[in-house]
Amino acid sequence: MEFSKIVVPVTGTTADDEVVKLACQLAKKSKVKIWTVYVLTVKRSLPLDAEITPDVKKAEAILDHIATVAEDEGYEVETDLLQSREAGPTIVDEAVEREADLILMGVVYKRTFGQFSLGSVVPYVLRNAPCEVILYHQYTP
């Protein structure tokens, strides 16, 4: 598989580091452009452009950490912060806008009502992505 542009959504979970490392390894082979994006979701009781400073600071910290992880891998990534109502459509739109070849997402093991759950964002991206999607599952013993 060869890619030229990769979008890596990050969420501040333990899977992010490994996903970014994986993206860097895939990218090293053919000088791929990587964008790591953090999506801030805003409730409908707020305007879309509401400035939620604590969340923005937290997101910045996560993106700074991701940039550091990538640097340690010897790769430079672009980080971006997006604010929207729902993360799934945002990630898909970002991939469309960037003309990405690949969306690389990480998930941690999560159970909802006793069942393993991918949540709502990952299934949305898998259904609607305009390109390949690689899903990295963080193993939790």
Binding site: V39, L40, V42, K43, R44, S45, L46, P47, L48, D49, A50, E51, I52, P54, D55, V56, K57, E60, T79, D80, L81, L82, Q83, S84, R85, E86, G88, P89, T90, V92, D93, E94, V96, E99, A100, D101, N128, P130, C131
Partner: protein, 492 residues
């Protein structure tokens, strides 16, 4: 990327101001805009028809038609304004850009009153519809109590930030439009076509035509039918290509709303007398669409449509009430972020990430507005006239702001520029905005003069708002009429 890929719709995305750099993302398309706007206006038929009939009697279809023309003027003004200023403030934004912060505040504060009353009136009319299943809900006191419980429930879920499903909303709206069209068709075929004279009798017969004062008040009250204009404007900031999609959504809404309202009102007056339609105690004023279903000539059709209308009405009115609350909280946040209201109203809950203070405060005010429902016989009309006080004021300011922007900033890019303009002092001014301004402000004055409840409650509301505004601006060392930024300076 695949060659045959087509981008999927979603929400608009915002890129917030970063310590380094950031972006917003917007995605709403025409269907989502239409459903949000129609959800607002489509819900109003479930109560507005009854209130209008209570006032305008047999002239109900005529006053709705006249109000419909004014609605077109409003929608067109908002189409130009929202395409030009794709912000969340609606008429408050237009007035702020067209005049100054104080005018923006007055429009926003009047709009808040409309939202509060919309929330209250939507909640108030849910129990009468559900009384099909539980007749005790028809008792005004019980109904008022249940309505308050509904508002308390909405307050809770909005503070917690429970997400509503847009798919569910669109599903219910689809069923709603289908049901209303079916009722109109059935009513025309089974009632009007069988006895065409009944409509004429119910409209113009002895005792069925209102007094001149009530006729004019009826036109004012009919503004209740045409909410949704602000809702679409509030969503402008979330719309992809707002310059193109917002006007199209408005035009779609105009067509859908006028056709359905005309049909429903004609069928209603064919199915029952205006006195029965407009009676809030023994008639169908509080659940007029249920009245249509209950008066269908076939028992089989009544058995199908009566419960269907009850369930649909309750769900759509609940959605409308929730939409009103979200509108208030967004507007309060918007006003607060522009230093027009104290910052406490834009405080966000640490855990739930919702503007909980604004939500709780305005829900409590809405509960207060509902209190007369326990003992006032005129409560239903009073609620309607209070809504009209707020909405007509903000519509008038929206028209005035669009005209002001045409005068002061004719060079501004107007992706959707209204046609049918007249030249005044070398500036093109749209006739629809001029006529809309005259109509809305004129009717507002009539309401203020003739309706003591809305005059005093509305005036007290506005005075309280202005006092809060002035004190807040004085303490913040900001001028009262601070002008917004010039285009290119981060504003328009």
């Amino acid at each position: 990327m695949q060659d045959n890929y087509r981008p999927k719709p979603g929400d608009r995305i915002f890129r917030p101001r970063r310590i380094k750099r950031n972006r917003l993302r917007r995605v709403l398309g025409i269907p989502a805009l239409f459903s949000a706007g129609y959800g607002d206006v489509g819900s109003s038929i479930y109560y507005a028809l009854g209130i209008v009939a209570l006032v305008a009697l047999g002239a109900t279809p005529i006053v709705l038609a006249i109000a419909g023309v004014i609605y077109i003027f409003n929608a067109l003004t908002y189409a130009e304004g929202s395409a030009m200023i794709p912000e969340a403030g609606g008429s408050a934004s237009f007035a702020r850009h067209g005049f100054n912060d104080m005018a923006g505040f007055i429009a926003g504060w009047a709009l808040m009153l409309s939202y509060i009353v919309t929330m209250a009136i939507s909640a108030y009319t849910i129990p009468p519809y559900l009384s099909y299943f539980w007749p005790i809900l028809n008792e005004p006191a019980i109904g008022t109590l249940v309505s308050m419980g509904i508002i308390a429930f909405l307050m809770l879920i909005n503070v917690l930030g429970v997400r509503e499903s847009s798919r569910v909303n669109i599903f219910f709206i689809g069923i709603d439009i289908t049901t209303q069209i079916t009722l109109v068709v059935l009513g025309i075929v089974l009632i009007l076509a069988v006895n065409p004279g009944v409509l004429f009798q119910n409209m113009f017969g002895a005792g069925n035509w209102p007094s001149t004062q009530n006729l004019i008040f009826g036109i004012a009250i009919a503004a209740l039918c045409f909410t949704g204009v602000e809702t679409v404007s509030q969503l402008a900031e979330e719309t992809k290509e707002p310059a193109k999609r917002i006007p199209r959504a408005y035009i779609l809404m105009i067509i859908a709303v006028l056709v359905l309202f005309a049909g429903i009102s004609i069928v209603a007056l064919s199915a029952m007398t205006p006195q029965l339609l407009g009676d809030p105690v023994n008639g169908w004023a509080r659940d007029p669409v249920a009245g249509i279903a209950a008066n269908l000539p076939s028992e089989a059709l009544r058995d199908i449509f009566a419960p269907l209308v009850a369930v649909l009405a309750a769900s759509i009115l609940l959605t409308a009430s929730n939409a009103g609350l979200m509108g208030i909280s967004r507007l309060a946040f918007n006003l607060s972020s522009h230093h027009q209201l104290p910052a406490v109203l834009s405080r966000i809950h640490n855990r739930f990430r919702t503007p909980y203070i604004a939500i709780i405060l305005f829900c409590l005010i809405s509960l207060l507005v509902l209190t007369p429902g326990f003992f006032s016989a005129n409560f239903f009309v009073d609620l309607g006239s209070l809504y009209v006080f707020g909405s007509l004021l903000c519509f008038a300011l929206a028209h005035a702001a669009i005209l002001a922007l045409r005068m002061k900033k004719p060079e501004l890019e107007r992706p959707f520029k209204l046609r049918w303009n007249i030249m005044i002092k070398g500036r093109e001014l749209p006739m629809t905005a001029l006529l809309g301004l005259i109509a809305t402000s004129g009717i507002w004055l009539v309401v203020v003069i003739t309706q003591p409840y809305s005059r005093w409650v509305g005036a007290i509301w506005m005075v309280i708002g202005l006092i809060v505004y002035c004190i807040y601006r004085w303490k913040s060392h900001l001028p009262l009429t601070h002008l917004p930024k010039e285009p290119g300076e981060g504003g328009l």
